[in-house]
């Protein structure tokens, strides 16, 4: 079955033309990607019938006789008070196998509130897979539409979910998958539709696709640079066999404090930091805090304590939940009034990463756009800020720009980043603090150091490390090749 989309255009209230008109076919597992703001989510919303009231949709797609199941981005906080089986919509063998294969967990009776939120975030997509598979078994033509189901997932879960989607597509379900994590999504896809903005889109089979507006993931960039065939761009094993990759030596940058002559270092006592040793934080550096066991709450707690010490505050500031229903312009003015900085300039910086609108609220922006705003406002602040997964939901180019800004910009304060994304962490942070698993006990020591030295301690190492290279970045390998 093929779902043909013909000249689809979407106009959203308060935003204007979100996409189109674009035309493409959905066959098998079709990946829909592009820069933030090019309208991939708007297409998914139109197919799923979940656009906000007042939205206008033009164009057509063949939907008669096709059951469309839509899975959108769902809230993580608070988690629903229900069991995994209820969230999956069933407790049968298929649900059990799917849950096991993706998460490694067996108990469908566990309550969602007992699980890690990053694990629970996979449930809506799995429910969609199960429902679509059940509809296919009944002989119904089914289209599963997923809008960024991996935004909140840990790297291992991303891989598990991508494989589950592949199996679902192999079973005869057509899938339209909006995603920004190209390294995970492209290898599993049949076709890639890249929205270029302004109604332009390019469609290619996944094995022939080269991005027009997005940077390729490092493994694909390196494979291309080393002359590997397109089919092998995503294969880490093949990449790891290349002599240049195995022999590459990472570039070691001077420590942030040594590279800057006039830096201030603040010593955070061991008992305050909770990492097993006194921690010197350099004012102006970007320090990544990574939980080895995926416990983001603990990492945030450590980061908040470090921030409070750096700002000479008696106790950590309570966690901030950004007000979701206040216009961005007002939010930025209030924030900059309290923290310093220029509100208009901050929003302009956010707009470099993703389209933001002063008049709309955070709730009316996509997850990636919200992260861009949070990052820009934090960057404008004169106090030490904690960024919680700042890259989540951003497109590859937005992640690259944000990482470069965090790494290279001079700042009067340190920035603390809590994230699970290894590629982002090694590019954005001057140093990484990898927290030991809670199961190792209170005496276990954290690991601190520059990304080159600490990357192997990350719960999910960067792609080039997984390929067997000591290098972290493409240019480390490429400089040897040249």
């Amino acid at each position: 079955m093929t779902v043909s989309i013909d000249a689809l255009a979407v106009w959203l209230p308060g935003r204007g033309i979100a996409v189109g008109p674009v035309s493409f076919d959905i066959r098998g597992l079709t990946l829909l990607t592009g820069r933030s703001g090019t309208g991939a989510s708007a297409v998914a919303g139109a197919l799923g019938g979940v656009l906000p009231a007042g939205a206008l949709v033009r164009g057509s797609w063949r939907s008669q006789g096709v059951t469309i199941r839509y899975v959108g981005v769902s809230r993580l906080d608070p988690l629903l008070d229900m069991s995994v089986a209820e969230a999956l919509g069933g407790a049968g063998r298929e649900a059990e196998q799917l849950w096991m294969s993706v998460t490694g967990l067996e108990d469908l009776g566990a309550s969602m509130r007992e699980l890690d939120p990053a694990t629970c975030a996979v449930l809506p997509a799995l429910r969609g897979v199960l429902r679509a598979s059940a509809a296919r078994d009944r002989g119904e033509e089914t289209l599963l539409v997923l809008d960024q189901p991996m935004t909140d997932l840990l790297p291992d879960l991303r891989v598990g979910l991508a494989r589950a989607l592949r199996r679902c597509a192999d079973g005869g379900v057509d899938i339209c998958w909006v995603e920004h994590d190209l390294a995970v999504a492209v290898p599993q896809s049949d076709h890639v539709v890249e929205l270029l903005g302004g109604g332009d889109a390019v469609v290619h089979p996944a094995e022939q696709w080269s991005p027009r507006t997005l940077p390729l993931p490092p493994e694909a960039v390196l494979s291309r640079a080393l002359g590997s065939p397109r089919a092998a761009w995503w294969d880490l094993e093949t990449l790891g066999r290349h002599p240049l990759v195995t022999s590459a030596v990472p570039t070691v940058h001077p420590a942030f404090g040594r590279a800057h002559s006039s830096v201030t270092t603040v010593c955070v006592p061991a008992e305050r930091a909770g990492v097993g040793f006194d921690l010197d934080v350099v004012v102006g550096e970007t320090l990544g805090v990574v939980p080895a066991d995926g416990d983001r709450a603990r990492a945030l707690s450590v980061a908040r304590r470090l921030a409070a010490t750096l700002d000479a505050e008696g106790r950590p500031r309570p966690p901030l939940t950004w007000p979701a229903h206040v216009p961005l312009g007002r939010l930025a003015r209030t924030w900059c009034g309290a923290r310093g900085g220029d509100a208009a300039a901050a929003l302009d910086r956010a707009a470099l990463l993703a389209p933001v609108d002063h008049a709309r609220t955070l709730a009316q922006h996509s997850p990636g756009e919200r992260r861009a705003v949070a990052w820009a406002l934090s960057a404008a602040s004169t106090r030490t800020e904690v960024l919680d997964r700042p890259e989540a939901g951003l497109d590859a180019e937005g992640r690259r720009l944000m990482a470069a800004a965090l790494r290279s910009e001079d700042s009067g304060t340190a920035t603390l980043v809590v994230s699970h994304d290894p590629e982002f962490l090694v590019r954005a942070c001057h140093r990484l603090l990898v927290l030991p698993p809670a199961a190792d006990g209170p005496d276990a020591r954290a690991v601190l150091g520059p990304p080159v030295l600490v990357a192997e301690h990350l719960p999910h190492p960067p792609a080039l490390r997984r390929a067997g290279s000591r290098a972290l970045r493409v240019r480390d390998v490429w400089k040897d090749a040249r």
């Binding site: 008070d81 089986a85 049968g92 009776g109 809506p124 939940t321 924030w335 709730a363």
Partner: protein, 316 residues
């Protein structure tokens, strides 16, 4: 193929609903002046021992209670029923040609009536606060799904409103600490957040029943409404009794139609149901109304004796 998953209702949730229904009925039928006092005391005591997950509701509830109490006292002092007793104060009087005069002498009888009405209003508010404190938004939504079927989607935002209000109140110190305290707008935030939660609930929609069952539900609602109305008009039952019986019939019918399973996780979950049954039994046996009112205090005794279970709540 997945096994069909029948909706699961926790007996504790049914128990809280039953206890609140019985307390509501007592407030409207009992002659004892102790009934509202007992309801308020029970609600306050249970508040301290249950619903820690929904901390943050205290401030809005107290605000609402203050407004309600003040409004009732002022209104009844000005125009309220009740007379007799000593004159405490003579207010300026104003009256139109037809209608109740406003102001005039404020007597102890009128003040006592005002306080009684304020206590009754507070007791109603306490019951409402108790249900949102003790039953999570999801469980309320599931109860709605079972009772109302497809029509439950219209009530889902209401189910999550209190929980979202609690969350917003909990987030307030954080916003203040970050200099964003001025941006706290509880009402629009609650409306928007409750709607989001309802959408999230729909995304894992547990109710997918056919048109036939929906038609049966519509007929049942019509039949129950007509029967309750007829019973109330014919003075067979009071309006409150007819309404509560109608809700009971719809709940039982909904449970049968959706094949809901009632889950008992621990023996303590039965406490609200047992306490409700005790009060109902005493009222039906027509024992002294003060004793019926005092029986409402059995619930806080039970909840104080058995601490709230905060660990694993859901079993296979």
């Amino acid at each position: 193929m997945n096994a069909h998953l029948a909706p699961r209702l926790h007996v504790a949730d049914l128990g809280w609903s039953a206890w609140i229904a019985v307390a509501f009925w007592s407030l409207h039928t009992s002659a004892s002046q102790w009934t509202p006092v007992c309801v308020i005391v029970a609600a306050v005591a249970v508040w301290w021992t249950r619903g820690a997950a929904r901390a943050g509701l205290g401030s809005p509830v107290l605000t609402a209670a203050s407004v309600v109490a003040a409004a009732w006292v002022v209104l009844t002092a000005a125009v309220g029923p009740g007379s007799g007793g000593d004159v405490l104060w003579v207010l300026p009087e104003w009256s139109v040609t037809s209608g109740t005069p406003v102001g005039g002498p404020l007597t102890t009888g009128r003040l006592r009536t005002g306080l009684a009405l304020a206590a009754s209003a507070l007791a109603h508010l306490a019951l409402l606060a108790l249900v949102v404190r003790c039953v999570s938004g999801e469980r309320l939504a599931r109860l709605n799904d079972v009772v109302l079927g497809r029509a439950a989607r219209f009530t889902h935002p209401l189910c999550f409103a209190a929980e979202e209000l609690a969350r917003i109140e909990r987030a307030r110190p954080g916003l203040v600490a970050h200099g964003l305290g001025r941006l706290v707008t509880p009402l629009p935030d609650v409306v928007a957040s409750a709607h989001e939660r309802a959408v999230q609930w729909h995304s894992v929609g547990l109710v997918e029943e056919g048109a036939a069952k929906t038609r049966v539900r519509v007929l049942l609602v019509l039949a129950a409404s007509v029967a309750a109305l007829a019973a109330a008009v014919g003075r067979v039952l009071t309006g409150v009794e007819a309404s509560l019986l109608g809700v009971l019939v719809l709940t039982v019918a909904g449970m049968v139609l959706s094949r809901a399973r009632v889950v008992v996780l621990q023996a303590a979950d039965l406490a609200p149901l047992v306490c409700a049954a005790l009060t109902l039994l005493l009222a039906i046996l027509d024992v002294d109304s003060t004793l019926v009112a005092l029986s409402l205090l059995a619930l806080p005794v039970c909840t104080t004796a058995v601490p709230e279970k905060t660990g694993r709540e859901v079993e296979r």
